[in-house]
Symmetry: C2
Subunit: 326 residues, 2 copies
């Protein structure tokens, strides 16, 4: 075969499926995106994944050296099974690795989508020069992935990386996980509504009037506009937002001794509005010696991170480690 | 040589040096303990370590297959260097591996003492059946060690495992690390004084009177006695103590996806007074599915954990991993 070697990475979301071919250096050679559609059954999704992989292989006129697929939910990567997925509620212990592999007659590797994003950013994106990297994706919630000693760390049953559920206020805001005071109630898009509720009434009323949106809908986009317009309360709430992020990062620094954080997600567009407060807050909660070591990096790969990471899965020895008897 | 194979583990503390011979199953064949003495210079400590290792080798009439030494402080295990140690303030980037090795004319491995404790408990103690184990030693502070995918995880520059500095109250008690609201301000021996200060005055006065000690000296021993005597406030403070421990553990569960915790230290003598509240608190801050998976185990090896873990260091491939280029 004359085509250069490539792997195919698939990034399955609840709404869209993205896929691409990735070369050995981590560069994306081509990419495709299709809607998942209304039929969220495993059979339908398997057909869709297989069709996209075939379309890419045809486009490059070659056979992929490896195929990886990132899937939202609880994924047993070693077993190749999706235990449960919020976006695909019908799935229950679905053996997606085997099913996709059977549809393509090729070996396939699967993992959680946040793990794939983290692997992509850590190996081929902003974290590429670092051995230990924690990736945070800030959006509606906080996605996370841990690259420890150069490999994805999955924990027991693939549960690792739920950094949005670091407890920053034991009696704080209720969270969808059933707990309270989780980091993602503050340092994700919902946080501004929480902070606004704590403002003195006059400030809150003025903020809501300037926003042109009720208190519960103070999105990062609105808050960024207000801060850019010079609204001092909005600017202060961005700093508050950064302080919470820093507290969560401090706990990760102290626990894991990892100093490199890659931060992505749409909120990163407002990087300068929160990153100073986040850094100061993280340093105020860690040993002074960390001041010169802590590194915050902006994610570089954007929507490609999941594709690149999925394409790297087979090369990532940690899945083999997951099969090893200790 | 006719003697069975053994390794020697050294557990260096600020006050005492403990050492022992450990066989391939992790059993301690013999142990010694000597005071460190007033001369805390590196040269003096190296002589002491070498003398103890020789005495054990002589007693067993054999040459140790490996020698490991756990040292309090910041230890670069891969480089064999003690960067700084609170108990040995004169040391600065001290190449202890090389120095001990030169004194004995034998290869030596060194690591942080809490890492050695964790390795001992995880491999040969309470955690022996588990692949991922987090060890917590509750005392004046909280010592910790992470065994991930069967190996010690050290993080960047050996900083991993400072689980006592998980931030549980961002604006809470000041901590020796320079931060505020660290877990070890609550779920270690000092916690009872913190909780007592928050009591209504009448309750606080009664508690201090029953304790026969000022508020700042409400040790776990005193609080255990009061709880055993049926003092309801003391019993409630033990539960409060457990709730904080549970919040810290929940953050570890959510972040690392590790479900097995080995808990040691003197406070474990009061296990039944806090463990129920700790478990309920941890579960209230994690996904419901973890209820059947979370395991709290009492440490089994006591003071031997550091010796056993140090003896296992050379066998632990993670030091090699620490030398690897990713």
């Amino acid at each position: 075969m004359s085509a250069a070697a490539f792997a195919i990475g698939v990034d399955l979301g609840g709404t869209n499926l993205r896929a691409g071919a990735v070369d050995a250096s981590g560069a994306v050679l081509c990419r495709r995106s299709v809607p998942v559609g209304a039929d969220k059954s495993a059979a339908s999704v398997v057909r869709l994944v297989a069709a996209e992989v075939r379309a890419i292989a045809d486009e490059l006129a070659g056979t992929p050296a490896a195929i990886g697929c990132g899937i939202p939910g609880i994924v047993d990567a070693a077993g190749g099974i999706v235990q449960a997925s919020p976006h695909f509620p019908l799935w229950n212990e679905e053996p997606m690795r085997e099913r996709i592999s059977a549809a393509l007659s090729l070996p396939v590797t699967i993992d959680n989508d946040a793990n794939c994003h983290a692997l992509g950013e850590a190996r081929c994106g902003a974290g590429r020069w670092h051995r230990n990297v924690i990736c945070l994706t800030l959006g509606t919630g906080i996605g996370g992935g841990l690259i420890l000693d150069g490999e994805l760390f999955r924990g027991d049953r693939g549960y690792a990386g739920e950094v949005g559920h670091i407890v920053v206020e034991p009696e704080g805001e209720p969270c969808g996980c059933g707990g309270r005071g989780c980091l993602e109630q503050y340092a994700a898009s919902h946080g501004f509504s929480v902070f606004a509720r704590r403002l003195p009434e006059a400030q809150r009323t003025a903020l809501v009037a300037a926003a042109g949106a009720p208190e519960g809908e103070l999105t990062p986009e609105i808050m960024a506009r207000l801060a850019d317009e010079g609204n001092a309360v909005a600017q202060e709430l961005w700093e508050e937002w950064g302080r919470y992020l820093g507290v969560g990062i401090a706990t990760l620094v102290n626990t894991l001794g990892v100093m490199t954080f890659v931060i992505g997600g749409g909120i990163v567009r407002s990087w300068d509005k929160f990153i100073g407060a986040a850094r100061a807050s993280a340093l105020s909660h860690t040993y002074p010696r960390h001041a010169s070591e802590l590194v915050f990096l902006k994610a570089e790969l954007g929507d490609d991170a999941g594709i690149v990471g999925a394409a790297l899965l087979e090369r990532s020895s940690s899945i083999m480690a997951g099969r090893r008897i200790p």
